[in-house]
């Protein structure tokens, strides 16, 4: 390593040759050593034989350290190159890994999935549009489209509406941060965890002597003189009971974003409206809403995309049974339960086509207010 620190052409040609060879050797040796270390780590992790705590620590060290090491070694190699070449190559050391990973995990898969969607389940025979005909006409798929539409309209509408209401109301109280923290809290909870929480709310035991409902909703219904219900199998209403979970999870997001936008509404504008005799409600609709329109659109589109891609809640709560299937769950079933790669790919492409316009609209909104 010290050889690289000797200034170039400091002594005779022989020394120069020696340092040159030393440099070349080091340039070959260091990457090989790096590779061996990383490969050994990989084998160690894959074989999974050490105690779990050790595995986890090695995994974290290897993962994080490995990436840092790769960047460092790559940069070290590039800095050995002559100035002119270095300048062209160095940016790619910085940008390259990210672009390569993006290409592998997102850009190329779009093309590959598109190709797979025209093939049968084994991925060898071209079947034309068969998979798309299935995806657009099958009874289960049509049900999934209907349900995604319900999620999109009611899930998004309720989340944004409630988020707006809470943001506006909380803005006028002293305990704002407490209220906001409570509503925001579900954002930290996984959909699976939220699924358990709400499954417990909806639990149904049935009728009979000595059977006490342990689910809160049924207990309340019973206390009010009603009959307990198996809420999650009551088609088509069960969709709405699932949508409530999404509202519980997403309202906090909408509230936080809208709240910070409301804080940006100039007080003078509201004051002027009030002096002109506008009621609070008028002032809200005539001043606040137009002012935060961009934010409302961003939040709405973000939650619409979320509702289109929704998977976990349905998967955990009903598995898509009893008329609650959604597109992303049907994708999962086709790929992993029925092993229909072609159909799954067609569904994924349809999902992409559904998301793209909303996302472009979202990005355009963002771009208008923050240029890069």
């Amino acid at each position: 390593m010290t050889s690289s620190e000797i200034p170039k052409r400091s002594s005779g040609p022989l020394a120069w040759l020696a340092t040159g060879i030393g440099q070349i050797l080091a340039s070959i040796f260091v990457p090989i050593l790096t590779f061996i270390v990383l490969w050994q780590g990989f084998i160690f992790l894959r074989d999974n034989k050490a105690p779990q705590i050790v595995m986890v620590l090695v995994a974290i060290l290897w993962g994080v350290g490995g990436v840092a090491l790769l960047y460092w070694v790559a940069n070290w190699l590039v800095e050995k190159l002559p100035e002119s070449i270095r300048h062209t190559i160095q940016p790619f050391i910085f940008v390259g890994p990210a672009l390569a990973i993006l290409a592998w995990f997102l850009a190329i898969p779009v093309v590959r999935t598109l190709l797979l969607s025209f093939q049968d389940e084994s991925g060898t025979t071209f079947v034309g549009l068969t998979n798309y005909v299935f995806a657009l006409t099958d009874r289960i798929m049509l049900e999934a489209f209907r349900n995604n539409l319900l999620w999109m309209i009611f899930g998004t509408g309720l989340s944004v509406g409630l988020g707006l209401l809470i943001a506006v109301l909380a803005d006028r109280t002293k305990l704002e941060s407490v209220y906001k923290a409570i509503i925001f809290m579900p954002m930290a909870i996984s959909f699976v965890g939220a699924g358990v929480i709400w499954k417990f709310m909806y639990t149904y035991k049935g009728e009979g002597a000595g059977i006490a409902e342990i689910g809160l909703i049924n207990a309340i219904v019973l206390a009010l003189g009603g009959k307990s219900q198996p809420w999650l199998s009551l088609a088509p209403w069960n969709n709405f009971f699932l949508i409530i979970i999404m509202v519980w999870l997403q309202t906090g997001y909408a509230m936080v974003i809208i709240s910070s936008a409301i804080k940006g509404v100039p007080a003078e504008l509201l004051e002027a409206a009030r002096i002109d005799g506008a009621t609070e409600i008028r002032a809200f609709f005539d001043v606040t809403v137009p002012y935060i329109k961009g934010t409302l659109i961003t939040v709405t589109t973000t939650i619409i995309i979320f509702s289109l891609k929704l998977f976990d809640i349905v998967r955990v709560m009903t598995g898509g049974n009893n008329g609650t299937n959604v597109i992303a769950n049907e994708f999962y079933l086709q790929r992993f339960t029925y092993l229909q790669t072609g159909r799954a790919s067609a569904i994924a492409i349809i999902l992409l086509l559904a998301v793209v316009p909303v996302m472009i609209y979202n990005l355009r909104q963002f771009g208008e207010r923050k240029a890069f």
């Binding site: 993962g63 994080v64 890994p97 990210a98 850009a107 709400w198 002597a209 974003i257 994924a348």
Partner: protein, 368 residues
């Protein structure tokens, strides 16, 4: 004077109304989670027999005595007991007397035994335990009691191991994409190279791709590379899926850093790499922290990616919890404690670093 007084009263009424609405909403928001939290500490026998709210003081029927019907009473038809005419079937479901007492037939028709219960206040009679947590964490045999008090033997769900696996997945899957994205964002923001605009457009375009698109082909690659079920597989996947947003957010931050600081460093002869590690990274800490929390919560709470790439090998908490839902959907003592274990870390991170998290969210959607 009276006008301002009226307005003040009006304001007080408004404020009470606003606070009232918010308190109701907050209670609605908290109750579901509270139910799971309370249940996770109850005895399994109690969980199956009564609602979690019974740990709070409430009115409940308490047995006060019993009536033995004389053999002369014909129990096949209707008969009189305690002043009401009733039948066996009605008594099986419970008959409430006008004085509030409740009569319930005990056992089958031949017992001729009627239990009398009266409503009474019961307060905080909860019998709390940590057994549910022990049972759900271990992978060994577990024992618990069902509603009738019978002991049940089962294999544990090994959520302890799953928790560690989640740590092993979430920590590198948070740091790796941030590191890669920071290098990339710096390259886009401050270095000149051919195709800069084009590549950046590609990165932004990738924001629209739902990750379902990638699952099928990536799974094929992983099968070929024999990577399925390894930590590396899921780190790479989370890195790939998280990169577009990470680059986008970090670029927005890094590109607004003051130009003169970087220029003077360049003039002093610092290399691009040194500038990155010595200047860019320290200056970008707020943006890095925001995205780190965002990504950590996302990875920790992710179910789909873990389900697809890890499967049953190296199961993470979300998968393990979902597996309990699937296999033992009515075992509420395991589900509730398991759910709470899965939420502990993200909730702690969330409440400790809420400020950064909110900043990250707003940076992603509102001009920050």
């Amino acid at each position: 004077m009276s006008a301002t007084g009226g307005m003040k009263r009006q304001q007080r009424v408004n404020s009470a109304l606003v606070n009232g609405i918010l308190i109701v909403i907050c209670i609605l928001w908290l109750v579901p989670a509270l139910g799971v939290f309370v249940t996770s500490f109850r005895q399994s026998k109690d969980i199956f027999g009564s609602g979690w709210w019974t740990v709070l003081p409430h009115k409940q029927y308490v047995e006060k005595g019993e009536i033995k019907l004389p053999d002369t009473v014909d129990v096949t038809g209707s008969f009189e007991v305690e002043g009401v005419t009733t039948t066996f079937e009605e008594l099986r479901n419970g008959v409430t007397l006008s004085d509030g007492r409740q009569l319930t037939w005990f056992g089958n028709r031949r017992t001729r035994l009627i239990k009398v219960a009266e409503q009474q206040w019961v307060g905080f009679g909860a019998n709390l335990t940590l057994d549910n947590y022990k049972n759900v964490l271990t992978g060994k045999e577990i024992k618990f009691k069902d509603a009738s008090g019978q002991e049940i033997l089962r294999k544990g769900n090994n959520l302890g191991t799953a928790f560690l696996n989640s740590v092993a997945v979430a920590v590198p899957a948070t740091i790796i994409p941030i590191l890669i994205a920071a290098f990339c964002a710096y390259g886009f923001a401050w270095l000149n190279f051919p195709g800069r605009k084009f590549f950046f457009t590609i990165v932004v375009a990738m924001l629209v791709v739902p990750l379902q698109i990638a699952l099928v082909p990536i799974l094929q690659d992983y099968t070929k590379l024999n990577l399925n079920g390894t930590f590396l597989a899921i780190w790479l996947a989370h890195t790939g899926f998280g990169l577009p947003l990470a680059i986008y957010i970090l670029f927005n931050y890094i590109s607004t850093l003051p130009r003169d600081i970087l220029e003077s460093a360049f003039i002093d002869g610092a290399s691009a790499f040194t500038i990155f590690t010595q200047l860019i990274l320290p200056l970008s800490v707020p943006a890095l922290a925001s995205f780190a929390i965002f990504q950590f919560l996302w990875v920790w709470n992710d179910y789909l990616v873990a389900l697809v790439f890890l499967g049953d090998q190296n199961r993470v908490v979300t998968s393990a919890l979902a597996a309990i839902v699937g296999e033992k959907g009515a075992d509420w003592h395991l589900l509730t404690s398991g759910a709470f274990i899965s939420m502990m870390l993200p909730l702690a991170v969330f409440f400790a670093l809420q400020r950064f998290f909110v900043r990250g969210l707003t940076a992603g959607s509102v001009k920050g």
